[in-house]
């Protein structure tokens, strides 16, 4: 519970985030649209998302078969809802709600 450490981490993460957003603006002053750059800019973000979904799943620390099943159900719910309704809020709330209910009410550990 060290406030100084917490603030330090906030500042460091804030600077890192700003750096990633600033980089293209300072390195490319004119509208250089090299085809390779355009392509990387278009397809790399969704590829990174695949990596991040896996990263997020790994940080859930799924250690039992029940938890694996619960994660699968919640994931399916998020995907189905997002594909059919396209409302991020609904998809995230329902998915997280299912997962939370499974853990808190059904006692899945």
């Amino acid at each position: 519970m060290d406030n100084q450490y917490l603030l330090g981490i906030f500042v460091v993460m804030g600077v890192a985030t700003f750096t990633t957003r600033l980089l293209p603006f300072v390195t490319l002053t004119k509208s250089q649209s090299h085809p390779l750059l355009v392509r990387v800019g278009r397809v790399l973000p969704p590829m990174i998302m695949v990596v991040l979904v896996c990263f997020g799943l790994s940080s859930l620390q799924i250690e039992s078969l029940d938890r694996l099943g619960l994660s699968f159900i919640a994931l399916t719910a998020v995907t189905t809802l997002q594909l059919s309704m396209g409302n991020p809020l609904v998809s995230i709330l329902v998915g997280t709600g299912l997962y939370t209910l499974g853990i808190q009410w059904l006692g899945i550990s």
């Binding site: 906030f10 990633t20 998302m49 997962y99």
Partner: protein
């Protein structure tokens, strides 16, 4: 746009599990202003991560923003304070809102500024609400960490909709698999690098018009 309030609340609720004063949660919203990075921060702070590690992890997680900048480069103002604020506030959601609409001529900079400031304030309010509610009522927040995964899945689906060559997502999955096999501790960095290498090695397969 209002999606930012509940998502911020989820962060605030989770953040309270660390035991800091609840006002730090909206402060994170002001200073960091990155949904996924803040969710990750909860885990990082709990494990007592070093400053250097936090810096690198955030760079990696947000490296996708580099490519957002590329596509709004010409739309953003060339100078002035608003330029810096707009860049600071270029989150996933703001980016998708800005690129979803065709740029209008004179009024567009004001519109972007308004959009960015509004998103930022929704986010801060959300963080404050979640953490405030949690500190007064003490919810059981087990399971809320799934919000991060759900957020990434939603972003993945939205970004994949605009993609022609979806086989690249399989490539990304393979990259994760290989990276996890080789360096389970650092698989985020290695997997993202592998994706980039794959794109550079095979620049244009079924490419730009495909």
């Amino acid at each position: 746009m209002l999606g930012y309030v509940p998502l911020g609340m989820a962060f605030g609720l989770l953040f309270q599990s660390l035991g800091y004063h609840w006002l730090f949660a909206p402060l994170a919203g002001v200073v960091i202003y990155a949904g996924s990075a803040q969710f990750m921060a909860v885990g990082l702070l709990a494990s007592g991560i070093s400053y250097t590690e936090a810096f690198i992890a955030t760079l990696l997680l947000n490296s996708r923003h580099i490519f957002y900048g590329l596509s709004v480069l010409d739309r953003y103002p060339k100078r002035g304070l608003s330029r810096w604020y707009l860049i600071f506030g270029l989150t996933d959601e703001t980016y998708s809102l800005i690129t979803a609409k065709a740029p209008r001529i004179a009024s567009s900079h004001t519109y972007y500024l308004y959009l960015t400031a509004l998103n930022h304030s929704y986010w801060i309010v959300g963080c404050a609400l979640g953490a405030g509610v949690q500190s007064f009522f003490e919810f059981d927040s087990r399971g809320f960490e799934f919000a991060l995964v759900a957020l990434f899945v939603v972003l993945l689906i939205e970004q994949a909709k605009m993609m022609n060559d979806r086989w690249l997502l399989i490539v990304a999955l393979c990259a994760v698999f290989v990276a996890h096999l080789l360096v389970p501790e650092q698989f985020l960095l290695v997997a993202i690098s592998l994706c980039l290498i794959a794109l550079l090695v095979r620049p244009k397969r079924d490419s730009l018009n495909g």
